[in-house]
Symmetry: D2
Subunit: 346 residues, 4 copies
């Protein structure tokens, strides 16, 4: 913490602040300049800097250490590669997670799962508990949905990523889910973050619509501080004044997170743009910017989807996109799993 | 829903859309203009307008009905006045809720409660479960805190408003809280909204940092659709690019909500501005703009507060502010409870 | 400037930075802590802090002095009261400026001027050069418009505030305008700012839609650095994600500006909310929050207005509002000019 | 325009609105539903929809046609490819424009020009008139700067893109500049837009920090409506709450603009992220998303740059980036000019 005193600050005021800092276990370094006195305070405690801003004689206070530790790059300078039942997230491969917005039936999961697996996806996504803005919209199949997606995933050799909305759903997660998704609306639902932090199930943590990247890392810290270090961050668009897209996808989050944190970061272009024909360009951009994976909505019959059909890709669109993504991944020194078909060719 | 067709849309495309609308129980009205054909669709179903936007030949789709019903002004054109154990919210009186950010002890609640009551507050606020951005910050006293604030409130004749963070805390709420606060971070925590909706305890619903006013009303609709119609909305600042204040207090929310909804709306200036010396001007402005109440942080020793001390008013500041607010309330045809002292004078 | 070094920074890196700082005429104070070394640099030069952020071994850089001087509170701690031909802005009186969005004719200015003067306004507003989002919208009457508003103002004893859009219009301004308005879209039009800075005509500087308050003060500094210190700031709403209002009126700008700067700040509620029925609540709130004046759109026939009729008050609405504002001004220790009628009564 | 009447609207109110619409040359189509009457109005006039919103009985008004015409996709469905002295913008090739933030000397332009040309750039950028937030920062070399960059460009076979800030600089532009840049702060400087619209010099129009994409197209319409149809749009980041980057680069602007407009769109990653090490990932993402070009800051001695050195690439970084961009361009079916060296190899 750096405290800049006002030009007219008295010695007594400065002494008082130094005393307060010392009482909070800070080492204090005082620099006296022509215009300002500057106090540099170094310590381990997390304090509310406004407690110093309101003191007499203080001009400005700056925090000099980030309030997250386990999530910071310094904690693991070489970066983290998660190994989730053999699927590596954060390594050379760009991991593709794809599937419907909402789980509708086993048949649906089976058809989509078979297709996305063949195209190179490693994880199937699909929601059983849906956070819907309107109470009158379809809220998901619940436990039945989780059973369906699990069965399809096992049949096709895929992992399951699915959202839970409160700690009481953790038992179901243990049984059916490989990667627990925490949705954007729950990014600061602290009881839930602590709950998943007490499990050893990998967590996909989506950035809240108005969360800074620092807030996102603090949310990850909540999970990690309980013992679960397997966290994947996910950029999915922030809320801005622009209305042509559902949200504004902030792809600069990728290089920023890679600098600030050792955790992998993936991108959900589907929710960000909200409309099918803009998903592919943004998926390509996310890989080009260095994203560690993608979360993409795919449906075999988008026109009949229970939810978000307009932003779901058709099966063939997904296959075409995967081919494009593979060449872009190669251009940035990454890989994307080959389809069986292509693997055979080689 | 109004669907504007592209100039080049074919009759077949138009017929297809009409068929789809009718299958979703919409009445359809077709207007053929020189440039565009417009389809007006009237019905009760809530649909995702993007499902129509992606259809061939469609240029634009506009929603013409708001997706909230119970929360809309049309549901109760004369407005709602809640009667919470004798305290009326939404009527002529501007209701003042004041107290510490965090409950620290019974003594603290007692001292602050006595003071704010004397100054004219009707409700004491104080958090037992604190949503803190950092996992390493103080998280609140929990049940012990609720007991303390309840005891102080009963002693001084105040109601208690306090936040809960998950449905498992509803039993405690039933026992100790008069008005359940749903915090900004939980505004779209749907299991929690449904949970409080199943009680008959009045709910203070804070606007999320990136929630539109329409989102706020939809969150209220979640609570109301479960049967609990006692909802008070609360403006507490939205996230913008401005960094001089913690958040940007959007006071135009007051006239907008009063037009769109029958629910009362109060304002929390303390969290919006985040620093003590800007609380009073914004509290005055909130009353002048027609707010139905205020939620203000007050502490007898802000310098020692466990949380948000920098934004808490000193006791005397609160008393002074209440005097100012009374004259402003009078200027807009409202009242604020007189202190005992003043009542005696008259 | 405060430079926080990385934990692993070498002595050589630190020495290099100190050398660079000294070469830019900074006094440097070095504090060595357990975790970090902190360099405090005090000097007069304005530098781009990113030039230090990119140096090896640097963790973070904080600016400790604001880049504006003439506009800062420290320059005139007691605040500025402008005296514009007898009208004092920034003093006890809340100055009301009112009139049509666009000047349409002398008759229009005459009718509206007479009315707003009688209701207590001191300044008539009206645009001759209109910045319109669409090139196909009415762009204003130009010089003819300025003549019309000047004539009406002189007849009724009002000052004229009107916008100019480029330096070539300064001659017209000298002839017809008492207060030059710089519109929100031109807040960072630096040639224009310098141009008005070289005159001695008072300037009403509107905050840009995405300008921080620091940006606004820097824009004022542009004007002042050329010699013209008569600047009035104006909050008129910022762009956010909320769509119920045209812009989000940021009333906390008032106490923030009063703290950071000695310049007066007024509020334009009409452009912020964009619709008539929300102007009055926000005007009241602006006065309650301590605003030094208001800029309000008024029209005798809003339905026929050439521009922004929907946000213009009817004449009678303006008179009613003025009465409300007077009681609120009194509640915060300010005044608003009495109407002749009222003055007579007393 | 679609007008949705309130449920309780009277026939008289509806008739009145129809009359007003007809008087403004609209064709009106009336649909009477169970809940609402909907009026569809088709016509050529640009009206302020709020003029209808404030009328009695009206619930909502929606605009159904965009207010820009020349800039819309419909005007040239196949898209526009500009041919600027042989350099094609909007075609298969992704056009790279690179150079220093500020022109400092002929030597500087010569060194940088030679390098970027060799690496594949087609246009050299560099500012002679700099819009700086602080009046005390370096404001550019003016006409001398333009001469320097022109000379270097001619020597190396490059086009020149450079910013002008007011119409009085148009003569200099005619003499020295191939593509006039309109900066973000001037996107709604209408006299300037009209001024460049009256020339036949191609215009690079940067999106304002708080401009929607619709605003950007309207600004283009200003230029085009004066007769100059050679407009290149430029995404350079919008202002949001995130502070880790200078601005938030909105890459979804690319597919959105390609859908709404026939104009080419390029991306400036340097100003958006504001720091060197994040420029390359975002440049790659921009090409992957389908951008028609890039505007990149490059300097041979960034540490000594007069302006924005921290975001300028070193010469070698630029060369390396160009190689990466070429493979990404190929992956999306585009090209980037080969360097002479590479061309020789083939």
């Amino acid at each position: 913490m750096v405290i800049v005193m006002k030009q007219e600050a008295t010695d007594k005021q400065i002494e008082g602040i130094i005393k307060k800092l010392v009482s909070q276990d800070f080492d204090v370094h005082r620099s006296t300049g022509v215009e300002h006195t500057i106090l540099g305070a170094v310590g381990a405690q997390v304090v509310d800097i406004r407690d110093y801003e309101v003191l007499d004689g203080v001009k400005e206070v700056h925090r000099i250490t980030v309030p997250y530790k386990l999530a910071s790059r310094a904690f693991r300078p070489d970066g983290t590669v998660l190994d989730i039942r053999g699927v590596k997230v954060g390594g050379d491969e760009v991991v593709i997670m794809a599937g419907p917005c909402t789980i509708e039936s086993y048949e649906q999961c089976d058809v989509i799962g078979e297709h996305v697996k063949a195209a190179g996806a490693k994880v199937i996504r699909g929601g059983a508990f849906k956070p819907r803005t309107s109470p009158y919209s379809f809220q998901g199949l619940g436990a039945e949905g989780l059973k369906a997606i699990r069965k399809a995933a096992d049949k096709h050799g895929l992992l399951v990523v699915s959202e839970i909305m409160e700690s009481s759903q953790l038992d179901l997660a243990e049984e059916y889910i490989d990667i627990i998704q925490i949705g954007a609306r729950n990014m600061q639902n602290y009881p839930l973050l602590r709950g998943v932090g007490r499990t050893q199930i990998p967590v996909l943590l989506k950035r809240g619509m108005s969360a800074t990247l620092s807030d996102l890392l603090l949310a990850a810290e909540y999970v990690m501080s309980e013992g679960n270090h397997q966290v994947i961050l996910c950029e999915r668009g922030i809320r801005t004044f622009e209305t042509q897209t559902r949200n504004t996808l902030d792809l600069s989050a990728i290089p920023v997170i890679h600098q600030l944190s050792h955790l992998p970061i993936i991108v959900d272009p589907s929710h960000a743009v909200g409309i099918r024909d803009k998903v592919a360009p943004m998926a390509r951009a996310a890989v080009a910017a260095g994203g560690d994976g993608l979360l993409i909505e795919v449906h075999h019959e988008p026109d009949k989807a229970a939810c978000d059909g307009a932003q779901s890709l058709y099966l063939q669109q997904f296959t075409d996109l995967m081919k494009e993504l593979r060449t872009i991944a190669a251009a940035v020194g990454r890989t994307i799993a080959e389809t069986e078909e292509e693997a055979v060719k080689v």
